[in-house]
Amino acid sequence: MTFVAKPRVHHPQLPLNDLGLTRRDYEGSVSTLCAGCGHDSVSAAIVQACAQLSLPPHRFAKVSGIGCSSKTPSYFLSHSHGFNSVHGRMPSVATGSNLANRDLYCIGVSGDGDSASIGIGQFAHIVRRRINMLYIVDNNGTYGLTKGQFSATNDKGSTSKKGVPNLYAPIDLVSMALQIGATFVARSFSGDKRQLVPLIQAGLKHEGFAFIDVISPCVAFNNHNGSTKSYDYVRGNTGNVIEADFVTPGVEITADYEPGTIEDVAMPDGSTLRLRKLDEQYDPRDRVQALSHVQRAAEEGEVVTGLLYVDPDASDCHEILGTPSTPLNALDESVLCPGSDALERVNASLR
């Protein structure tokens, strides 16, 4: 807990975005998580990403379940809508929210317990249903709120704080998401905002289900030697396959990349996702290759990060269901109840 309130005053030269807002206008309340928690860095990355994209800070639906991770929606975008739901049931709430109001940007924040244990069924089905949202898992491999038991994503052989090894193989949410049909799959590390911020931006702009598995160390219970989710281990064993950079429309791209390794992906709103391939052989649009690459690397103890898979032509559940472009919650009675003549016509068509 931190008792000193964060002062409202900000750096006099803090840049303004297109809405005339500073990054500070996208913050939430001061975190009550342990000092040094990776989750706070993820929240800060969301704040940076949204501010840089000049997204209206009140047009978000923030949803979460239970756990340290699920507390974090309080710590960003305090002017937005939020729903802190039941353990593992964030996907249901996210689905309902997105069906009712498709105009809100939907950010779901979950944890490894919330998504890979109690909520694994809901996780699988929200991927399958292709809800247009950004689903972030703050993955620390441990149950921090209950003082450090292994979670379902903890690697086999990784040890507890007292040195006891984990006996079970992990559930890899990235592989699951790829396999069930997520159209945007990435993995990142809370300690690397240079990678994480553009990924969040691209995920928000992706029309379809975007999933980012963020390895986010638990400083209190899983940041020791022997842990495979500690700051040191992740820094020492990370292999980035694709560097993503998000380019807003109208911005000239001047970054000096090595020739031949750049791939620009057009996003639905006219912006560009610029990918820099660090591995020549890797094709981020090949789902099967992505799946095998991730699994092979995991066998070798390497944490693959970056944008692993993206389908730029993805569709979301509204497209599948053929809902109107006006959010359902904005449809008035005359549209929703068109009268008995209309009912007659519908009935007649079914005879």
């Binding site: 964060k6 005053v9 900000h10 750096h11 905002k193």
Partner: protein, 596 residues
């Protein structure tokens, strides 16, 4: 960039902008905290130790600390440091238990102080506790120097002045007043072990214009006139008064004239309003008393009739910024302006002037007629003679006199002990003391107070203009003092970074409200300044750079707008950040900080 050496005493000293800007290096945040704790006596003594005249300076200081205050950069208005100093002085209790002890058995060394102004008094204060015998001479009938003769009572009441002058004189100074020194040779013949010249800048400048000699009796030199008012020789001024000059003396002259019965008072300045030497608050006070300030009017001629002054002709000019940094004035082409007046007060500057020092005694003067001095030791080319205050480098504020005096006192002490004035000089130092009291507990009030600068109450204007002895500024009462004290950012509680504890979790970067902290690849300073979370455009403020961290990056903190709120340390899981109070040791004879 190379890693910052935080054990260099000047590094963290610079972060305490107010203390760094203060010539006497008064530990400002320290005494403001004491005021916030209602420990006024201690706050006063901390000031007295460093600047010698807190009550006087709390009313009259030039306040170099205030434009330097970090709050100017984080919002707009500085902490009212000077007025808080006065709060300490106004509310202090019995200070006698804190006064240094002066030995009754003297050390056998005799020191001669020439002039009884702030510089000489401060030298006496520093030397007396070491057993020196101090003889002080002044031509005026009482001590205080220009603080008595040039600062009018409505800015500095006599009892405040006398209390702080007497405090020192009563420590055991042998003061001889009404003693006009006419020959340095005679003084040297008295064979003191050391001499300190603190005779100020007593000669007001005059203007040799057509008509000047003919109307001599209607023209007064500002500082002389103020002196004759202060000592009760002048009680009134009549008719229309023109004050020429744009410094604080001009402001004192015009406001005094207004109180002594002038029919009208006008200040005429040759330069532009913005570049006038007077402090902003002095200008504001004069204008609020209904005194017009006319700028860009250099005088041309005094108009007189039958030996009586009728008025002055002024030329009309305008300032032109030619890019050199100094304004140039060119005629506007408008016809000259004639202004009627019956009396002129000339406040166009003053000089240090020592006609009584013979030029053949081995004491050299430069081409501006200033004594040739060592800037560190204040020793003249005569080994036994030291200078300080306005007589050293020309007119400055009282606070400079205190600062000079501390250095001169060290030099005199070293000289009398047969030591080298430079090699044996005590060094500056810095101590860092953690302020951590427990989990999330700090021994200082870390929370940022967003209050605006509080306005100081003034005396009723009509009453104040009726009586020259009524102090205009009433000062903060205890309640306002506490509120203003809360605005201090505690810049002396430093953010200290320990590389080998850092796990690079970014918690400090995320929480910092001012975006001061960045973890980045190292680079040369100009590049690094552009690479940070927020641009570090203020090159006067240092970057705090760590050694290389395990990821090959460095921690860079821009000191510019840090609020010292302690959130970085609060959110650091490993105590790599700690809030540590920097205690700057400025060498000073007998200072509390240097004893033992």
């Amino acid at each position: 960039m190379k890693a910052t050496n935080i054990s260099d005493p000047s590094y963290f000293h610079k972060v305490v902008d107010c203390q760094w800007a203060c010539p006497a290096h008064t530990p400002v945040p320290d005494y403001i905290r004491l005021i916030a704790e209602e420990r006024y006596t201690e706050a006063y003594m901390l000031n007295w130790d460093s600047n010698v005249f807190p009550g006087i300076l709390g009313r009259t200081c030039d306040r170099p600390c205030e434009p330097a205050c970090r709050r100017v950069r984080t919002e707009e208005k500085p902490v009212a440091i000077c007025r808080l100093k006065r709060v300490a002085a106004d509310h202090k209790g019995d200070i006698s238990p804190f006064m240094p002890r002066v030995p009754t058995k003297k050390n056998g060394k005799r020191i001669c102080l020439m002039g009884a102004g702030p510089a000489s008094l401060a030298v006496a204060r520093d030397l007396l506790p070491f057993g020196y015998e101090i003889d002080m001479f002044d031509r005026d009938p009482a001590g205080g120097g220009m603080m008595r003769s040039q600062i009018p009572a409505f800015r500095l009441p006599a009892d405040v002045l006398e209390e702080e002058v007497d405090l020192i004189v009563d420590m055991g100074v042998n003061a001889t007043y009404g003693y006009e020194i006419t020959s340095m040779k005679d003084m040297l013949a008295m064979d003191y072990d050391a001499y300190f010249v603190g005779t100020g800048a007593p000669r007001g400048r005059d203007l040799d214009l057509p008509g000047r000699q003919e109307v001599d009796e209607h023209i007064s030199i500002g500082i002389d006139w103020l002196g004759s008012v202060a000592f009760g020789h002048t009680h009134s001024i009549s008719g229309k008064v023109i004050v020429m000059g744009g410094g604080n003396t001009a402001m004192d002259c015009c406001r005094t004239s207004k109180r002594l019965g002038a029919e009208s008072v006008t200040v005429v300045v040759r330069s532009a309003f913005e570049v006038m030497k007077a402090s902003d608050w002095e200008k504001e006070d004069a204008m609020s008393e209904g005194i017009p300030i006319v700028n860009n009017r250099p005088p041309k001629e005094f108009i007189h009739e039958n030996g009586k002054l009728k008025g002055i002709v002024f030329e009309c000019v305008k300032p032109v910024d030619d890019g050199s940094g100094r304004l140039r004035y060119v005629p506007t082409g408008e016809p000259d302006v004639y202004m009627e007046c019956d009396h002129v007060l000339m406040a166009i500057g003053q000089e240090n002037h020592c006609p009584w020092i013979e030029r053949d005694i081995g004491l050299e003067f430069d081409k501006w007629d200033c004594p040739v001095l060592d800037e560190v030791t204040f020793q003249s080319t005569h080994p036994k003679v030291f200078f300080g205050g306005d007589s050293a480098f020309g007119p400055e504020n009282i606070i400079w006199a205190s600062a000079h005096a501390h250095q001169a006192a060290i030099s005199i002490h070293l000289l009398c002990q047969g030591k080298d004035l430079k090699e044996d000089r005590p060094p500056a130092g810095v101590n860092l003391i953690s302020q951590k009291m427990g989990v999330h507990q700090w021994s200082y009030d870390a929370e940022h107070d967003a209050s605006q600068r509080f306005i100081v109450p003034h005396a009723n204007k009509r009453k104040a203009l009726d009586n020259i002895k009524i102090e205009v500024e009433l000062g903060f009462d205890a309640r306002l003092g506490l509120k203003e004290a809360q605005r201090c950012l505690n810049c002396d509680v430093q953010t200290v970074f320990t590389e080998n504890l850092c796990i690079e979790c970014d918690a400090c970067v995320d929480i910092c409200p001012m975006d001061c902290i960045t973890f980045t690849e190292n680079a040369e300073e100009p590049d690094l300044r552009a690479m940070l979370m927020a641009p570090a455009d203020n090159a006067e403020q240092d970057l705090y750079v760590s050694e290389d961290l395990p990821t090959g990056r460095v921690m860079v903190k821009d000191e510019d707008v840090c609020l010292h709120c302690g959130l970085c340390a609060e959110r650091c899981p490993t105590n790599a950040w700690d809030m540590q109070k920097s205690v700057i040791h400025t060498p000073q004879l007998g200072s509390y900080a240097e004893q033992g």
